[in-house]
């Protein structure tokens, strides 16, 4: 197995997600999912694996929506992919057939046109497509369901807002929300590189007041389990032939240093020198050099830079909290409050709110002991190095 940071992996090389995927199929039995986490945590790979290996009775459709620029293109894609997938099972979409008429409208370059040459109304296309799918799933069997794996939904909304205006983007969101709840045999699994809240904030500034995700289950995949992280590292080291007899120790060192995030495991192993065998010490040195060099592509500085736009007046307090937790490793609320209060006046409620936000923005996570730690070990490592803590 060769390191492949950022590239596309075959499903059998997507390691450490089986339990989560089983859970997600369980959730999909009842509701749709919005998968939210940091970039490069592996959301797309989870979708790839679910799409490649669905349980019996599930029909899957997967698409990256980042290249879709209009609501009509989006509706056409949903129709076309459903048509293709159901066509393989010798099923047809009746209502859509009626819309397109006996003479059949034509789909040209991603757009459905009615027989009279006018574009098909996108909401109508979506609703009829979903209704048809519902009907066909019911016909296929009592357990049959279809799931749309839609990646880069925030990009889709942003593209539509830019091309067709914010109103259309809001309508797409509302339509998705409605479709997601109106059809029991259809589920959506949505995700994206950038947080949905960025797009929602922008739309809310334009008057949007919906809550499109409130009926969806929110799933945060996070890093993989330590044992899986080490297995992945070991498999990659063996493929790379960069560690000698100490491969197991190196695999552990790598997986632990990057906090068991598969992308970072791939990335760090890809950067190991090829001419000298790696050791746990050389791995730590390399990682520190990688993440702190003037010109690196890990972009962990992002976590420092975005504090100001995210937290504005509370930036100083946020820094103080993060510095304190970074040094301690793990701290309860009272300990954080004491540390903060030693340097500035702190209101308890404000601090609680800030901690909640820091967790939502994936800086921190709560432990089982109800304490706070850095969400990713790698960010903590960078934080300590870059701030000389």
């Amino acid at each position: 197995m060769k390191p492949n940071p950022g590239g596309q992996l075959s499903p059998e090389h997507i390691i450490g997600r089986d339990v989560l995927i089983a859970d997600m199929w369980g959730i999909l039995e009842g509701r749709s999912i919005y998968m939210n986490d940091l970039r490069r945590i592996g959301k797309t790979q989870i979708m790839v694996k679910m799409h490649a290996q669905p349980p019996t009775a599930w029909v899957t459709v997967k698409s990256d929506l980042g290249g879709i620029h209009t609501a009509a293109e989006f509706a056409t894609l949903a129709y076309r992919q459903s048509h293709e997938v159901l066509g393989q099972q010798k099923r047809t979409l009746r209502r859509m057939g009626e819309l397109l008429g006996k003479a059949r409208g034509i789909e040209i370059a991603g757009l459905i046109k009615l027989p009279d040459g006018s574009p098909a109304p996108w909401k109508e296309v979506l609703r009829r497509t979903f209704a048809d799918i519902e009907e066909e799933m019911t016909a296929l069997g009592s357990e049959c369901r279809m799931v749309f794996f839609w990646d880069e939904v925030p990009y889709l909304l942003d593209n539509i807002a830019k091309r067709e205006g914010h109103t259309v983007a809001m309508e797409v969101l509302d339509t998705l929300r409605s479709l997601g709840s109106d059809f029991d045999r259809i589920r959506l699994l949505l995700t994206g590189s950038i947080g949905m809240h960025h797009i929602l904030s922008e739309l809310k500034e334009q008057g949007y007041n919906g809550s499109p995700l409130n009926r969806m289950d929110l799933v945060q995949p996070g890093p993989i389990q330590p044992a899986d992280g080490i297995s992945l590292s070991l498999a990659l080291l063996e493929g790379q032939l960069v560690a000698d007899a100490g491969a197991q120790a190196c695999a552990s060192a790598i997986a632990e240093a990057v906090g068991h995030v598969p992308f970072y495991i791939h990335k760090l192993i890809s950067r190991l020198p090829r001419t000298v065998p790696a050791t746990p010490a050389s791995i730590a040195t390399l990682l520190d050099r990688e993440i702190t060099s003037d010109n690196n592509d890990w972009d962990l500085g992002h976590y420092r830079d975005r504090l100001r736009p995210y937290y504005a007046a509370d930036e100083k307090l946020a820094l103080l909290v993060l510095d304190t937790v970074a040094v301690a490793g793990q701290l309860g609320f009272q300990a954080i409050r004491r540390a903060a209060a030693a340097q500035m006046a702190v209101d308890d409620e404000k601090l609680r709110h800030l901690l909640k936000l820091l967790c939502m923005d994936h800086y921190l996570a709560r432990t089982e002991e109800n304490e706070y730690r850095f969400y990713l070990v790698l960010i903590r490592r960078w934080w300590c190095l870059s701030r000389s803590l």
């Binding site: 950022g6 590239g7 596309q8 490069r40 990256d64 290249g67 879709i68 991603g110 090829r274 992002h302």
Partner: protein, 870 residues
Amino acid sequence: MSDRPFISHFSPQRTDPELLEQIHVQRHDLLAESVARVRESVLSQNKHHLLFIGPRGAGKTHLVRLIHHRLSQEAKTQPELAERLRFAWLHEDETATSFLKLLILIYRDLTQRYPQEFPAADLQSIYGQSADIARESLGQALLRHLGPDRTLVVLMENLDSLFKHMPEIEQRTWRAFVQNHPVFTTVGTAQSLFDGVSDRDQPFFGFFDTQHLIPLNVEDAVQLLTKLARINGDAELADYLQTPTGHARVQAIHDLAGGNPRIYLIFSELLTKESLDDLIRPFEETADRQLTSYYQERLRWLSAQQQEIIQFLCHHSQPIPVKNIAEGLFTTHNSITGQLKLLREMRYVTANQKGREVLYELTEPLMRLALQVKETHDRKPLTLIVDFLRVWYDRGDLEQRLSQHKPGSPGHAYFAEALARLDSSPINLRHEILRRGIEVFDPEHCDDAMLAKLLCLATETNNAQEWLALSAAYIVRANWNEVISCANKAISHSNGDNEIVAMSLYNRGVANDVLGQKASALSDWMEIAELSGVSNDQIANALTSLANLKGGLGMLDDAMDDCLRVLSMQGVCDDLFASAHIGLGVILARKQLPVEAIAAYTKGILMRKVTPKVLAMGLYNRAVENRRIGNLQEALNDCDRIISLQGIPPDHLALGLTNRAAIKLSMEDYDAVVQDCSRVIGTEGLAINQTARALFLRAMAYQFSGRLEAALDDYERPFLMPTLRVHSEVAEKLPDFFANLDMTATQVVGLLLGLCLEPSKLVDRIGRFAISFSKFDSIQLLGDALINHLPTLARAPLNHDGFDTWAECWTSACAQIEPEDQTKMEIPLRLLHTGIGFLKTKDENSLLLLPLEERRVLRKALQLPPERSE
């Protein structure tokens, strides 16, 4: 020379890929791995996206071309690869402002490479349609013609430029297309990291596996130049490049121009073409065309002050401190520091730490060349090329080459300029460059590259200082004959500088001493003491060394005089005074005056400004003396103090540890012995004598604490040290071990007896030791120990069969050694068998089988009284 293979300086895609293979250096692993990853992308669902980062001339296109070449070659013999692999190659000048235009570029290249599979008509059909429709149509056509089982390897040069021109929304479309249709793999290049792939908010963040191309080091450069010379049929140059002087000259070129491979391609042409006339004008024009516009464009992105800094650095061929830049630009240190930080982040400049100072230079030396092309008017020679010629050629070579060019020709102008600069400056540029980095020479940290520089400098300049530095470097490397040779040259070129003569004599004396040429060593150091114009420190140093040497030769009174002379001198540093006190102590100890010796050591130890190394020696010697007279606690205190000293060399620390272990052994604190000795044994780079001593002490600690197998192993380990091959080395490198060898033999025989091993294991163990002792011409010691242990054998819990087994095992084991040594063991074995016969019968008549001399030895060993007749 017209049939020389064509290697393009600026366009590797125009060079035959087989030639590129031949001149490929340094990146063999990267290339092989990249090929493997692309191959995997073609043959499996894993799709890799590789991005190679490096400035212009770093070898990116070279690498991409070889990836393409190797896979194309493989495809010729692997039908599956041939069926599933398709290439599209976007060259460096091609750019696109939308995903549609990128698709068009890719499809157009496919129509040219595979016209049967990708009809050009599909491309024609999209023109005139809306961009959305065209994108959808062309995308579908590409996917249809490619098919689901093939992978398109898209080779994209200057990806940074492409991203710069493509809006983010188009990048999202591109990325979505690749994600939705996993039949693409990308091999891209970029001159530096760019936001499109390294900014977390951008669509392609983390998408590519980026690899920074590392500049060539001097070894790589030598390898590249050698390969180029061989390709060009210049065997003489290829051979010269392998010499230390050749290396040093490449080092100078490297210091001047960095590790950019393109620089060496250009430079190679300068070296291997007999005439520069045909080379220089096309080169200037290509450089202008290929480089100048690019670098001017890069400069335009910068602020006015940043541009000034870059131009300032362009005019300096060496790294510059911030202070000089600020002075040169008439501005403040702070403003320059701020701008340099930004320029570093943008990879225009590189910072090098030198002591407390940070020196800055251009990241891309080609930028200097490009600006010179622009700034050089009236076709005057380019400074960088002239500098290359000055650095590489000596005056004679330059004059000869000048004479080969017609006056007025471009080549003539270059060689004339190089000579003119040679004449106008008293400083030789090559020597100036080679001296960078060795201004503050530390022989302890002189690596091979530095040694080559020194050798080149010393050979070319006959500068006494450089010969002296070289002799010091050879001392660290224990290359004693070279020490003497270099010291002689330093003396002969010293031009009356007695400081240099004194230091050279000192180094020569050290070498002579080690080589056993004691009289020469005495003469060298005595000569220093007679020199005029030499510092008192140098004289004191020589006298102290003399005293040590004389002490070793038994000339104790003379040695004492030398030490006292040092102690009577004025203005000698504390360290040397301390050394003289310690030297005096050693002599007094040899004169069996322990109290006086300890007093002398104490005076040395109490000197105020003493280096940890000298202090450690004082403490060590005092500890030895205290131990000898039974002051164990004082000895231990001194050892503890040595061990706690910061900044002492590992061998001094080892002395403290082994001495403490020896004391603890006498105090029966075996765990402490094992702990200290293990620390010494685990220290890398120690003289093997020290390791052997620690092993011996630990073996005894193991033995006395009942860990017999471990003890036997430690007794054996010094014999197995790979650096020891012959007896003479033992005497030289292992004096302590050699002195203890009889004791080792005694302990080993005792242990072998005590371990009660099975016969086969016993034969094996005895055999190993017999071979070891035999190897060191000491088999007799083992024979003696065997006989001396007969009383132990008598007390051992063995029956008669056990006695016989012991004797048979020794006989079998000794059959494994050299015949000559077998002969030496004949008597001990005969005595052993006879002795055992006596032990079984207690009948002294059984000894009569032996001749009288042997009977005497055996009776003594068996603790029997002499025979009555004696």
